[in-house]
Assembly symmetry: C3
């Protein structure tokens, strides 16, 4: 790769969708299980280091731990253990070069760092993104009764989002993205809440997976007036990927349009061109290719170029979607920079835009779009 364009290298990024990192040491099996969206390497498939992201770790993360590029997985993990989790996390979060994080606090299995500590480690302002389903499950666990669920959820959402900058829906994981366009009626919500609460009373885990309720949550988010992030596309083996095409959200997107509430389509791979289309034709739709950016490694430039075929530059954001491994903060940031730099340099070489245009695009995608949409300046 040629060196980064200066206008990209010096960008102070806003990471508009990320998660916390694990604060303990990891053995090889734990490391590999956090590396990709696979739960673990399989007996027939070999090590997950032999993948695009694995090679990116060896190439770009090894030097941050004072190793030569392309260090072997064994050397890499030994050095990581020597340094210890705290130092490793500090180094990678610093290396990411973000000035602000919008952290989804709703998914935190195991021992992960709290919001404030993440911000301190990264040297960044840390903002909270509140996961709608997590709030609903918290409310359901208290046993509000079917008739009281809707109001209890709204009340709890107000409390939980007092200082949040955005919301997150994982409807994709639970019921897919073909949510109805219409806001569900009160009676429908009460009936669906009744079924859900009854199942919890009968012993089921309080895991929300109901299209009516998930639609209700989204509309409460619209009423709350914060940008709503949707998991779209690529995820782990728990997702039904064919139900996660962002085009399935079209009806809901149309219904939300009059409110002006921003809809943030996250990840999107392998449907990133579909997402780019939505970002072009709907004024309130924004897109990123987080998660995929670091998973595809050296193919990040192709991914970004495809997304920007239709997505206007004012609608495209950076996110790492890093979770668990601090490496993913660094890789998400670095591979985004490489992809964006490659995109801009190709355009400069081909006479597509001027240097000033390229620098403006870099600022939009790197942070200005996020600051504008989430209103981060006013905070």
């Amino acid at each position: 790769m040629p060196p980064l364009l200066p206008c990209v290298e010096t960008l102070s990024l806003v990471d508009h969708h990320c998660h916390s990192v694990v604060d303990g040491d990891l053995d090889r099996s734990e490391f590999e299980s956090l590396l990709t969206e696979a739960e673990a390497p399989g007996p027939l498939g070999g090590t997950l280091f032999d993948s695009a992201i694995g090679f990116a770790v060896r190439r770009w993360c090894a030097p941050v731990l004072d190793l030569p590029p392309h260090a072997s997985p064994e050397d890499y993990l030994a050095r990581r253990a020597d340094l210890g989790a705290a130092e490793v996390n500090r180094r990678f979060l610093q290396a990411a070069g973000a000035e602000a994080l919008c952290l989804d606090t709703g998914f935190a299995p195991g021992a992960v760092l709290p919001l404030a500590e993440m911000g301190a480690l990264a040297g960044a302002t840390a903002h909270e993104i509140v996961r709608l389903e997590q709030v609903a499950e918290e409310v359901a666990a208290v046993g509000p009764g079917a008739a009281g669920f809707a109001e209890a959820f709204r009340e709890r959402l107000r409390e939980r989002t007092a200082s949040a900058v955005g919301l997150k829906s994982i409807a994709a994981y639970r019921v897919g993205l073909a949510l109805p366009g219409e806001r569900p009626g009160d009676a429908e919500v009460t009936a669906a809440a009744g079924r859900w609460l009854a199942s919890i009373e009968a012993g089921a885990a309080p895991r929300l997976a109901d299209p009516t309720l998930q639609s209700f949550l989204v509309w409460c988010g619209v009423d709350r007036g914060l940008p709503i992030q949707f998991h779209v596309g690529y995820g782990d083996a728990d997702v039904d990927l064919h139900r996660c095409d962002p085009l399935l959200l079209t009806d809901l997107i149309r219904a939300v349009e009059p409110t002006g509430t921003p809809i943030m389509l996250l990840h999107n791979y392998p449907f990133h061109r579909h997402a780019g289309y939505l970002a072009q034709v709907f004024p309130h739709v924004f897109v990123d290719v987080g998660l995929a950016t670091h998973n595809v490694g050296h193919r990040a430039p192709a991914l970004i170029a495809e997304t920007l075929e239709l997505a206007p530059y004012g609608k495209f954001l950076f996110s790492s979607d890093a979770f668990g491994l601090a490496e993913l903060y660094h890789l998400g940031s670095l591979l985004f920079r490489q992809g964006l730099s490659d995109h801009l340099r190709t355009g400069l070489d081909d006479g597509v835009w001027t240097e000033e245009d390229a620098a403006r695009i870099a600022r939009l995608a790197g942070g200005e779009n996020a600051r504008r949409v989430y209103g981060l300046e006013q905070r």
Copy 2:
């Protein structure tokens, strides 16, 4: 970009799917609303000039208006206003370098130029493509009665297509492309017409959106013996893009095959590889990537290369799908030429084909395929 291959630069194109242009002056908001498939720029997303097509306008259209490449949007629009719509339209239509236009006359909101005038401006022969739904809506407005609808439509179609070279279906916009394979029976058509006409009598706008009737229209088109264009894929916010995958047409395509009637799949993005497959395996299916070609700007070469992975060269056509802005005629043509030239040059550099092969491919895609399929030579 390297200069165009001579065999591409000198091509006299047949634009097998295009629309008319607005004949009045446009302010910035009107210009941006015609630039992409977005209805207008949104409050949070910035100007639509900051998009692939916006940069293409500044780069490639500015010089046609005597401005330097990369002129600012403000300078561009000021110069455009100075020259006036008539001169602007003349310059871009001439620059497109088409020898023949197949103009879809069925979509003409606002003040657009008539067929003959478009041909005169472009210095091209202008042929008409008749939109099936528009004919049906014209017939419905007259009130033929349910039982008389089918025959009235056939009769009106004969009149309207006396000198037309093709037909167009916008089923994609109205009901999606999952049309039934079988030709609907007379009783079905009468019943569906009855429902539609009753809704019009009850005050609804005469907007056709019925799978049975839309299928009936297509089969009348087959009986008429003219190539049938289908809107496929990419369009404005009114389209449900996930219902516009060309693969959903497979049953209908199979049913039409024995008649030999050419099926012309238009646009196709982001399903252009799917369309390429259909063009390979069905002898009567042809594809283009109009509309997308100018919207993706400097990514047009990637688009064309992907489409031609499976689509045979005898099945791939040029279209601009320009509408409203005369700039889109110029960009559609220029970016098609750049994409095709890049594709052919890459092949020459890699030893994929000879110079003679490359020139033959250029002639096929640029015009020979269209002339053969629409029978333009005999006209």
Copy 3:
């Protein structure tokens, strides 16, 4: 194209999915009908030599028949006829450079060569892949009665697979890939067998196209403990491509996971990125891009690069899916080598991996993955 990397050029390939070749001479129409997935060239679309694969034949196959590169179709076919089918088949199978073939013996219309002869011609070990539907249709033709079908199938499958290395399902062609996740119950199987056998007794051809029975076949394959190949994506006009997205297999893939039975996703185009996702997140899923590799000709590098965005290198296999024309063995092998070499060289140029890494990846994809999954070493 630059020359192949030595580590790719010298690879001895395992072709884990291929078919037999025609052993008689072919006229132009017969040759073109075997060249792509089109049944034949159409009256309006021109010769199928004017396609990516057609140019690949002229460029890469002509020299194997002692002609200059880019020989005309006429010269090529004349030389082919002069040499005769036996010599042509020998040359191309040798040129492919495979050390082992896994041959699907279930599709053999016309006069094709038997397994042992294919191995001898190619200078390779020939292993058998048994097509599940073919065994079922063989059993049905004998008339086992509904109640006896399941056991008769299991018995016949045991016999037919005594020395086979894998199984193949063409559910994609018959009912699409949205197979149920659950193993069908005995009563369901008996009922479905009853309906099928009755239709055969009533005169229908014994062509299996029933989701319950096709699911039953797959589970019998799982019980048999051999890797199961699935036709996915691209095929001829008989396939409903929108029912062949590998993501539709997700439920079945999840259900099979605990057994550890390898699921081999074949072809996958244009859904190869979807397949790459499945190969990443499910430990027992493996992918290839056979058939598409030779059909897309010089675009094979793009195809392979896209597939390997998510698919780990331990999960990606070579196959030609050659059928009928011996040329397809040579082209499948050569274009795979070119695509893989281009992928590895790009990575080397960009510092993505070391020379040793590149050589290891080449060995994995070229044969080690296949030998491990099919247990070929032990044979």
